[in-house]
């Protein structure tokens, strides 16, 4: 058999396994973080420290019946959860976990990730439409307008990084940050002294946008339980709902790993010692912890507050940041 086919299959299987395991562990982590922030314990009964709780939940979801509501668009209704899941898995293709561990070294990797990730919005719209449920439609419309609003500042800040590094290849972006934390793009003191003031702003805008892009609290208006039942997945039961969950956590992972690759030096060690996949995972899971921490600290914003934050603050700031970045790259 062609070794290339085996390689592709191997990566595909391990990505899907990683997405599932990652989601299971993140659900556990989320519940633990939520518990301790509220001074509770969180899951503790199933397995040591409740580690097997999400597997028990997963088995429960898999045994449940998939119910298709009356008047739903049946083919779309069944395809939509997979459409949420597939882009999430596809995004992993370009993410370099370490120098050797990357499925594909594509020289427009950054562009490809944004292209694939925006399919997710389309899937959410389909979900809302196919469910034949007014709450799902409202939620889908919210999710789409939110994603459109936050894609703009996110892409603009990504462009500042591309301008600074001069490449869209994620491998090269990380390789350019080798050596130590003073070489990282968030604080590039050794490369360009002017960018020291701009890059933290870029990182903050990027991080807020990736939180909003993945529909995480405090921007989870698509899932506002108090007004929209459960949001776009109201009509889904069993593993249909489970796939949305897997997709959401995979997207959180992708958002955080992009932030790590672009700003925090990817798999590079902060002190220039033993770079590798462990550093990448430590940084990504730390950022995911920050995302969870924010979720359990802040209440959900209003919809106008959400759009105002994007159009009135993040977009002007990111545009100004872009212009200044261009100037600083020339000047310093």
């Amino acid at each position: 058999m062609n070794p290339e086919v085996i390689r592709v299959l191997g990566y595909l299987v391990s990505f899907i396994a990683f997405v599932a395991l990652n989601a299971a562990m993140l659900v556990w982590m989320e519940r633990k973080v939520a518990g301790h922030i509220q001074r509770r314990i969180g899951p503790k009964e199933v397995g040591p420290f409740g580690l097997l709780q999400s597997f028990a939940d997963g088995i429960k979801l898999m045994t449940k019946q998939l119910i298709v509501p009356e008047g739903a668009d049946v083919p779309l209704f069944k395809v939509a959860p997979m459409l949420v899941m597939i882009p999430a898995v596809m995004c992993f293709v370009t993410i370099p976990f370490s120098e050797q561990l990357a499925a594909r070294n594509i020289n427009v990797g950054l562009l490809l990730i944004f292209a694939i990730a925006s399919v997710n919005v389309f899937a959410l719209l389909l979900v809302g439409w196919a469910s034949n449920n007014k709450y799902a439609v409202i939620s889908a419309a919210r999710a789409v307008s939110q994603n459109v609003a936050y894609e703009i500042p996110m892409l603009i800040t990504a462009i500042t990084v591309v301008m600074f590094t001069g490449t869209m290849n994620l491998q090269d972006i990380v390789l350019g940050q080798a050596g130590g934390f003073w070489n990282w793009n968030i604080f590039p003191a050794s490369k360009n002294i002017g960018m020291v003031f701009l890059m933290p702003i870029s990182f903050l805008i990027f991080f807020i946008c990736s939180m909003a892009e993945t529909n995480r609290a405090p921007f989870d208006l698509g899932e506002a339980e108090s007004e929209l039942v459960a949001g776009f997945h109201t009509e889904y039961a069993g593993m249909g709902f489970g796939l949305f969950f897997l997709g959401e956590y995979a997207n959180v992972f992708i958002g955080c790993s992009l932030a790590v690759i672009l700003f925090l030096g990817g798999w590079q060690c902060p002190f220039g010692l033993f770079p590798g996949v462990h550093w990448f995972l430590i940084k990504v899971y730390f950022l995911i912890f920050v995302v969870m921490w924010a979720r359990w600290t802040f209440p959900r914003t209003t919809f106008y507050g959400l759009l105002n934050l994007s159009w009135k603050i993040l977009i002007p700031f990111s545009l100004f940041n872009l212009v200044l970045t261009g100037a600083f790259i020339k000047v310093f």
Binding site: R39, R40, W293
Partner: protein, 147 residues
């Protein structure tokens, strides 16, 4: 224009303060009690369902079957019965049933009891599957406690 930046700065500052508060909470010890695993310390004035008080030495119920509790109970939960036994002064308790499905834990029975033969228990595990499980035979309960 100044208001615009001030709003952003104040907003960001309040968000960071909030994150600080939750981070502090994250590392503080948990305050919840793990219900089935941990037995809580029940306060002295806790009102469980009533129970009979036994004599400290013999363990026999202090109840003299006067029937005051049965009369005092506004919901009619209590049924007391006794009989005369040769050589014992007064009546001897043969039955003391509490229908806990009707009891509202008002405590008038405890107040009305002259010899102090009934008391609030500290029992808080009160789940059951059938209505009959909540009709307690308090005499049997006292005998079981004695053993």
């Amino acid at each position: 224009m100044g208001g615009y930046f001030k709003e952003i700065f104040d907003g960001a500052y309040s968000l960071v303060t909030g994150m600080g508060v939750t981070l502090k909470y994250l590392f503080q010890p948990v305050v919840t009690e793990q219900y089935p695993h941990v037995v809580p310390t029940i306060p002295d004035r806790f009102r469980g369902h009533i129970e009979l008080v036994g004599n400290e030495e013999t363990g026999a119920p202090l109840c003299i079957v006067c029937g005051m509790c049965q009369k005092a109970c506004p919901s009619g939960c209590i049924t007391v019965a006794g009989e005369k036994v040769e050589g014992v002064k007064g009546k001897v308790l043969t039955q003391y049933t509490l229908d806990f499905t009707k009891c509202s834990l008002c405590g008038i029975c405890v107040e009305s009891c002259k010899p102090g033969a009934i008391n609030f228990s500290k029992d808080y595990n009160l789940a059951g599957l059938r209505k009959e499980e909540f009709i307690y035979d308090l005499k049997k309960r006292l005998e079981e406690q004695k053993r």
